[in-house]
Amino acid sequence: MQAFIVKRLLLAIPTLLAVMTIVFFSMHLAPGDPVDQMIPPDMEGSAREDMVERIRAQYGLDKPLHLQFLSYISRIARLDFGNSLRTRRAIAPDLRRRIPNTLQLGAMATLIAVCLGVTFGIISAVRRDTLLDNATMVGALFGVSMPSFFFGYMMMLIFGLYLRWLPPSGFEGHIFQWAGFRYAIMPALTLGTASTAVLARFTRSSMLDVISQDYIRTARSKGLGERIVILRHALRNALIPVITLLGIQFGAMLSGSVITETVFSWPGVGRFLIQGITTRDFPVVQGTTLIIALGFVIANFLTDLAYGFIDPRIRYD
């Protein structure tokens, strides 16, 4: 297992480097000079040129691109994401404050997706071609087709504004306390809907594949109860591909948080990214994109590990 972990870790490093390279160079390809944003528009002539040069030197923008890239990598390794062009403050503390908020939302949405998606997927497969199966699959189709922001606003309208069961939007501390949890329910449901639908469809198809295998027929012919056949023999095998999908879905949720956090004014990384884009604050865009992509790489790495843990065959490949 140790060799497997090291191998997977080594495989993740080039991906991380590639992600950093893309994020760095994409910001340098962007039209317009970010330095222009930091200079008062009424400043002209040599005073302006002096200031441009000073800012370039201050941010290291006067150095050749490859040196800028190396210094960028070394800064990221020290978790220094630079300063915001708008507020001039360091980005790292902002990110540190926002990452747990996004992770809490992502974790809660994942929990919803796993509990509902996997359960409905199993029921649907076991009760194939019944009304319940059809209803679940239609529901799943609705889930993948629903724009998350529309679903979010509809929940906000019904449960937040009309029924007043939940606060319509905002943030009230972490989700481990009731006050904070209430604020997270609707955003987490919004974020988790599409993944719930995808997981339900995928679990169903994976279960159907497994149920038709010979060893399930053997288990049944041994006289085992249906519950044991489904839960112990079928489900454990059916869940292996589902876990792979879970990693991808968690990554999709991290990027989906951009929309959900905007809808519910949730102070997470996604909303920070949109604020960065609308104010053309490149260091913020760079930092937040990198954090979300890193989250995706880490989620995939953990999925790989879980996959190797559950299915020993993977480790010996």
Partner: protein
Amino acid sequence: MEQSGDFQMQDGAAGLDTSGPTFGERFLRRLRKNRLAGIASVFVFLVAIMAIVAPFITPYSPTDQNLLRRLEPPSDEHWLGTDQLGRDILTRIAYGARVSLMIGLLGATGGMLCGVTLGTLSGFFGGTFDHLVMRVIDVMMSFPGILLAILIVSVLGPGTSNLIVALTIWFIPTFARISRGNVLSLKEMDFVESARSLGASNSRIMVQHVLLNIMSPIIVYMTLSVATSILTAAGMGFLGLGVQPPTAEWGIMISQGRQYLRDAPHLIMMPGAAIFITVLSINVVGDALRDVLDPKLKT
């Protein structure tokens, strides 16, 4: 994703009984059996017609404001009501269908053309080129979901054409992987070998024998990509990174209507329902197509 049993023999197929139902017949039969898919196909067709004849649907312009008639609920005059600037919502939805369908089709088509070309060449020739393409695609896939589109638009700037470019780049990896995987299993098949031994050139084998036989999964994924594109375009419009106002676009309509959620929820409900039903219909059609073309992919 093995395709055996459903391959189309191009050369040397003469003499075989080819009188079975064609794809069109099988699809129509499926539509008759699956009523939901039939309704969805009709709806997609209607949305397309609405997009084409948008100027003739209502007497209003999608951008002309009438501040005396702001936030009106649905009425005889304005079937879906008016927005915060007094614009007719039905008109804006009809014009929005143009934008959404155009972005959906162009984004998915661009991704399909580039991805299938790369994937087919990569799988067919293998070697260093294959390695290089696959590594680039691995890196592209390390950006989750909408993030790659957001990054591209934040670099190129918001706007319709940049959004189409972003969607194209986003879809390339999946199309490339699907086509490469299929090409790899196909190029070992006997009919490709026999075509080669008869002296067929690489390009002839690729186009006539390989490309035609990988079209089933490509068409299925293409349909689903159109739905994803429409959903993403609306999401980007909502975030202010897609099509720019005052153009009528479904995502922008929701974004602009959110301030009036309590007093005039129809500002969000109408365009939201338009996106939802359109995407749902395309997904249902995509599922039906998959059942006809590629039953092994059925989930």
